[in-house]
C-alpha cells in the first residue's frame, strides 16, 4: 500500500460514518533546475504529502486541506472539517459521492524520472546551454514524481503514480531571443541539445527584426502558439461550469470550427501524463470535444454534470468550485504535412513561435489579446524570411479556427506550452487563414 493510500484510509476512518467524505492524498517530489545568463542560479526541490478532505454533513459541505499528516494532526484536521461543515447552509446542488467504478488500467510513470536527481537535470540543462555556442541561455528543467490516492465513504477508491520531465528555455542575442520546449513522462526522452539548437536557431535568425505593419495576416502557428489557443478553449469554453452559466461559446452539436479541427481529452493515450481519475474519484477516459469541426463535448465534474443532466467526465480539479472542470490531457488532431510544406503554401504571412501574456477580453466571444515572443518571422513566397519585432494581437480564437480558416495541420504534434501548463496540451503546427495583429510591441 502506498503512503498516499494509507493517508486516505486513515482519514476515512477518522470521519467514521458521521458524514459523507471524500479524501485525496498525494505524496512525491517536485524538483526544478533553473538557469539564466547560461548558468544554473536557482535549483530547488521539495518532498511532502498533502491531504484534501471534502465533507458533506447532511448536505452541508466543506473542504479542508493540510500538509501536516501526523496522526494527531489528521485527527484534529478531520474534527475541524466536520465542525466547519456543520456551520454551513445546506448545499442544494450537492451531487453526492462517486460510486465504485473501475479505472482505466494506465500508468504514465517512469521510475528514473520519479526520483531524478539534480545531476540528471543539470545534464539536460548543460546540453541546452551548450547548443547555444556562447549565446546567453535561460530556462528550466523540471522533474516530478507523484503518487495520488482517492477514497470516499461510498466505496470508491483509486490510486496511481505519474511522472513528468520538462526542458524549456531560450537563447538570446543582444537584439533577439529564440525559445523551444519539450516534455515527456520520462527524462530520458528529453534531448536538451535538440531543444537548445531550435531555440538558438530562432534567436540567430531574429537578430535584425523589423517592425511589421499591423493588420490581418495569414499565419503559421508553431505548437507552442497552438497550445495557447487550446488552453483558452479548454479553460473558458469546454468547461461545464462556464457552459451551465451561459458564459461559454460552446453550442453542442453545432459546427463551430473548421472541419479540419479535432480536439479531444484522453488520459489513456500512451503519450499522455497524469493519473486516470480526478479529485472526485471519477475515472477518466476519452472525451471528444470537437469532431470534424462540430462541438461534441465539454469537461464536467459531478456538480456541473448534475446541473446539465449528464455524467461527470472525470475532469474535476482543485479549485473547480470557482473555475469549473477543465480537460488536462488535450490532443489537437494533426495531419500529415511537414511544417515546411505548410509554410511553402503561403505567399505572405507571419510565423509565430509562441505567444506571451495572453488574456481574455470576453469568454463568450473568446476575444483574446496577447503578444508574440521568442521568434516571429515574415513568410514570403513560401519561405521564412526576415524576423519581425514582437507584435500584439487581438483576436477571437473561435473565429480564427472557424469554417475555412484552418488551411493546414502539421505532422509534428507534441507536448507544447508557452506560459500556462506544461504537459497538458499535445498539439501540432497549424496554418490559419487570418490573424489580427493590432500593433507592434514597441510602438
Amino acid at each position: 500500500m502506498t503512503r498516499a493510500t494509507e493517508l486516505t484510509e486513515q482519514v476515512l476512518e477518522l470521519v467514521e460514518d458521521r458524514a459523507e467524505a471524500e479524501v485525496v492524498a498525494s505524496s512525491g517530489n517536485l524538483a526544478l533546475t533553473r538557469f539564466a545568463n547560461s548558468f544554473i542560479h536557482q535549483n530547488v526541490a521539495e518532498d511532502g504529502e498533502a491531504v484534501s478532505l471534502r465533507i458533506a454533513l447532511d448536505g452541508r459541505v466543506a473542504t479542508a486541506r493540510t500538509t501536516t499528516t501526523t496522526p494527531d494532526s489528521l485527527a484534529a484536521f478531520v474534527e475541524a472539517a466536520l465542525e466547519t461543515a456543520a456551520l454551513q447552509p445546506v448545499d442544494e446542488d450537492w451531487p453526492g459521492l462517486t460510486a465504485p467504478a473501475a479505472l482505466p488500467s494506465v500508468e504514465h510513470v517512469d521510475e528514473t524520472t520519479y526520483d531524478a536527481d539534480p545531476a540528471a537535470r543539470a545534464d539536460v540543462v548543460k546540453a541546452f546551454v551548450d547548443a547555444g555556442d556562447g549565446m546567453l541561455a535561460a530556462g528550466y528543467c523540471q522533474t516530478e514524481g507523484r503518487t495520488q490516492a482517492f477514497a470516499n465513504s461510498a466505496g470508491q477508491a483509486a490510486s496511481g503514480r505519474s511522472s513528468s520531465a520538462i526542458i524549456d528555455g531560450i537563447h538570446q542575442t543582444d537584439t533577439s531571443a529564440g525559445g523551444a520546449h519539450a516534455a515527456s513522462a520520462a527524462i530520458g526522452d528529453l534531448d536538451g541539445a535538440e531543444v537548445g539548437e531550435l531555440a538558438a536557431r530562432r534567436a540567430v535568425d531574429s537578430v535584425a527584426p523589423f517592425d511589421a505593419k499591423p493588420g490581418e495576416y495569414e499565419v503559421i502557428l508553431a505548437p507552442e502558439a497552438v497550445a495557447t489557443i487550446a488552453v483558452f478553449l479548454g479553460f473558458y469554453g469546454f468547461n461545464g461550469k462556464m457552459l451551465s452559466e451561459g458564459q461559454s461559446f460552446v453550442d453542442l452539436g453545432t459546427r463551430q470550427f473548421d472541419e479540419r479541427f479535432q480536439m479531444w481529452d484522453d488520459v489513456t493515450d500512451p503519450r499522455a501524463m497524469g493519473v486516470p481519475f480526478d479529485t472526485e474519484g471519477t475515472p477518466k477516459g476519452h472525451l471528444d470535444l470537437v469532431v470534424d469541426g462540430v462541438t461534441r463535448g465539454v469537461a464536467h465534474n459531478r456538480r456541473t454534470g448534475r446541473k446539465l443532466g449528464v455524467a461527470s467526465t472525470g475532469n474535476n480539479l482543485p479549485g473547480a468550485e470557482s473555475w469549473g472542470p477543465i480537460a488536462t490531457n488535450v490532443f489537437v488532431g494533426g495531419a500529415d504535412s511537414p511544417p515546411d510544406e505548410l509554410i511553402a503554401g503561403i505567399e505572405r504571412g507571419i510565423y509565430v513561435s509562441m505567444f506571451n501574456y495572453c488574456r481574455i477580453l470576453d469568454p463568450k466571444t473568446m476575444v483574446v489579446t496577447g503578444l508574440t515572443r521568442n521568434g516571429t518571422f515574415m513568410i514570403e513566397n513560401g519561405r521564412i524570411g526576415d524576423a519581425v519585432t514582437n507584435m500584439r494581437f487581438t483576436q477571437s480564437f473561435v473565429e480564427a479556427l472557424g469554417d475555412g480558416r484552418i488551411l493546414g495541420l502539421g505532422n509534428d504534434a507534441r507536448f507544447a506550452d508557452s506560459e500556462f501548463a506544461p504537459g497538458i496540451m499535445y498539439v501540432p503546427t497549424m496554418r490559419l487563414g487570418s490573424w489580427n495583429f493590432t500593433g507592434g510591441a514597441e510602438g
Binding site: 547560461s38 530547488v44 470557482s322 488574456r359 503578444l371
Partner: protein, 482 residues
C-alpha cells in the same frame, strides 16, 4: 522544549555541515480560509493549513533549496543537507561566485496590527454577508451570475540565518469582494467591487467591513446590466482618466515588474521576461512626467505588501523608485543588490515554506497629487473615464501594454456622459507615463492590494500593494478590439 526556531536552526546547520557558505531557513505555519458564494449558494468553504521548513544554501554561483513538510529536527537537518547537495550539483553549469550584500543581523519579532481576528468572526456572519450581497445583485434584472468571496490568511514565519538572524513574524491579511455578470446574446458584461479580484489588505476583518459591501451591491449589479445596452467604445486617440484600482494595476504591470532587479539582471528572462530598464540608464532615464513619483514602501500601515522583514531578514523599508519622473530605484535582494552595487531593498519573499524566496514587489505606489477625480473630469473637454480592470496583457520587457476595464464613460465638456462597454486602452510604458498631467489625492489615494501576482518557476503567488488615486493621461489609444 523544541521551538520552531530549533527546526530552522537544524536546517541551517545541516546545510553548513554539507558545505554551504551561507544558509537560511524559514519555518512557516500558514492557515487560510476561503469562502465563495454564487447566487446565494455557498460554492466552496475551504480551510487550508500548510506547515514546513524551507532551507536555502549558497554554494558557488547557485542557490540550492529544499523544502519538507516533515517538522522534525532530523528531517530539517536532512533538508539542509539536501539543499547543499542540490546547490553543489549546479556546478556542472556554473557562473561566477554569487555575491551577497551585508545587512544588519537582527533578532526581532513583528506582528501585523489588526483589530478583529478574521478567523474569530463567526462563519455564519461571513457567509451571510456574501449571501446577502449576491441576493441584492440577483434582484437586478439581467444579472445571471452574482458571486462573492472572502479570503483570510494567518501566517507565522520563523527565520534563521547562518549569520545569526532570528526573526518571528505573524502576518494577518484579509479581503474579498463581489461581482455581477449580465449575459447577452453574444456577450457577457461584468462589474466588480471593490475592485477586480477583490480588495485585500494587511489587517483583520475590519479590512472587509470598511468597504460597505451591502451598500454597493445594487449599484454594481445595475451597472453590469446597463452595460449590455451601452454603446461600444470606438477606437481613437483621446484623453484617458483612470479610476484608482485600474491605475494601481497599471503601476503593478508597467512599473512594478519593470523595476525588479532580478528581471533587469536576466534571471527571469525565459519566463516572466526581462525589463526595458537597464542599469546604465539608472538615475537618468525619464520614466514619466514630473507628476510621477513612485515609492516601494513595505512599511505602509494596512497595505497588502507590508511586513516587518523580508525572507532574507532585511528590515522593511521605503525606497524611492521614480522621482519627478526620473527612474531612481529598484526592487532588490541581497544577491541582486550586490551585483548592481546598490543597497539591498528588503524585497525578497517566498510563497509558503516550499518556494525559494525571490524579488517581489512590496507596496509599489504612485504618490498622490492634489486634485480630485471630480476636478479632473471637470477640467477635461473630451475623453473617457475607465474603471475596474477586466483584462491585462504586457510584453516581456514591460513596455507594450493593453488593458481592458469593466466600464467606461465618455467625458464631454467637463462632465460624464454615455456609459461605454468593452473599453480598452493600449500604449508604451514611458510614453504613457510621460502623458500623466493630473493626479488626484486626499482620501481618493487608496492602498489597493493585488493578491495574485505570479512569478517564478515553480510558480509563486505573492500579495502586493499599490497605492493610487485617479489620474489623467493624454493622447492614449483607446477602444482597440479584434
Amino acid at each position: 522544549m523544541t521551538t520552531m526556531y530549533d527546526y530552522a536552526e537544524a536546517a541551517v546547520e545541516g546545510a553548513l555541515a554539507a558545505g554551504a557558505i551561507y544558509a537560511d531557513a524559514r519555518v512557516v505555519l500558514a492557515k487560510q480560509e476561503g469562502i465563495d458564494v454564487q447566487n446565494q449558494a455557498v460554492q466552496s468553504l475551504d480551510r487550508t493549513e500548510q506547515a514546513g521548513v524551507g532551507v536555502r544554501a549558497l554554494i558557488g554561483s547557485s542557490w540550492g533549496f529544499f523544502a519538507t513538510a516533515d517538522l522534525t529536527r532530523r528531517a530539517a537537518t536532512a533538508a539542509g543537507e539536501r539543499a547543499a547537495e542540490i546547490a553543489r550539483a549546479s556546478a556542472v553549469v556554473s557562473g561566477d561566485p554569487m555575491e551577497f550584500a551585508d545587512v544588519d543581523v537582527v533578532q526581532d519579532t513583528y506582528e501585523t496590527p489588526y483589530e478583529e481576528d478574521p478567523f474569530n468572526v463567526a462563519l455564519s456572519e461571513k457567509v451571510d454577508l456574501l449571501i446577502g450581497v449576491t441576493k441584492t445583485m440577483q434582484e437586478v434584472d439581467g444579472i445571471a451570475i452574482a458571486t462573492g468571496n472572502l479570503t483570510f490568511y494567518d501566517t507565522n514565519k520563523w527565520f534563521v540565518s547562518s549569520q545569526g538572524h532570528r526573526i518571528h513574524q505573524h502576518l494577518v491579511e484579509s479581503g474579498g469582494g463581489f461581482d455581477a455578470t449580465a449575459l447577452g446574446e453574444r456577450e457577457s458584461q461584468r462589474r466588480s467591487y471593490p475592485q477586480s479580484f477583490g480588495q485585500y489588505e494587511t489587517g483583520g476583518y475590519e479590512a472587509v467591513r470598511k468597504w460597505d459591501y451591502a451598500g454597493n451591491a445594487g449599484r454594481i449589479a445595475e451597472e453590469a446590466a446597463a452595460l449590455l445596452t451601452a454603446d461600444e467604445m470606438e477606437e481613437r486617440e483621446t484623453t484617458l482618466i483612470l479610476e484608482g484600482s485600474q491605475l494601481a494595476l497599471q503601476i503593478h504591470e508597467s512599473v512594478g515588474h519593470a523595476i525588479e532587479l532580478d528581471r533587469i539582471l536576466g534571471w527571469e528572462a525565459a519566463f516572466a521576461g526581462t525589463s526595458h530598464l537597464q542599469l546604465p540608464k539608472f538615475g537618468t532615464f525619464r520614466f514619466g512626467s514630473d507628476l510621477m513619483n513612485v515609492t516601494a514602501d513595505a512599511t505602509l500601515p494596512g497595505a497588502l505588501g507590508t511586513f516587518g522583514y523580508d525572507d532574507e531578514g532585511t528590515r522593511a523599508q521605503r525606497v524611492d523608485i521614480v522621482k519627478n519622473g526620473i527612474w531612481v530605484g529598484v526592487l532588490s535582494g541581497r544577491d541582486s543588490a550586490a551585483i548592481a552595487g546598490l543597497p539591498p531593498g528588503g524585497m525578497v519573499r517566498g510563497d509558503g515554506y516550499n518556494r525559494l524566496p525571490m524579488v517581489r514587489m512590496t507596496n509599489v505606489g504612485l504618490l498622490p497629487g492634489d486634485s480630485s477625480v471630480d476636478e479632473i473630469i471637470a477640467d477635461t473637454d473630451d475623453g473617457v473615464y475607465m474603471a475596474t480592470n477586466r483584462s491585462w496583457s504586457i510584453d516581456d520587457k514591460r513596455l507594450n501594454f493593453q488593458f481592458g476595464t469593466e466600464i467606461a464613460w465618455e467625458v464631454k465638456n467637463g462632465k460624464l456622459g454615455r456609459m461605454l462597454k468593452n473599453p480598452t486602452y493600449t500604449g508604451i510604458g514611458p510614453e504613457f507615463w510621460g502623458s500623466l498631467d493630473r493626479l488626484a489625492g486626499g482620501d481618493e489615494w487608496v492602498h489597493w492590494g493585488t493578491p495574485n501576482c505570479g512569478k517564478g518557476q515553480p510558480m509563486q503567488v505573492a500579495h502586493t500593494g499599490h497605492s493610487a488615486a485617479p489620474g489623467r493621461f493624454r493622447k492614449v489609444r483607446v477602444g482597440v478590439r479584434g
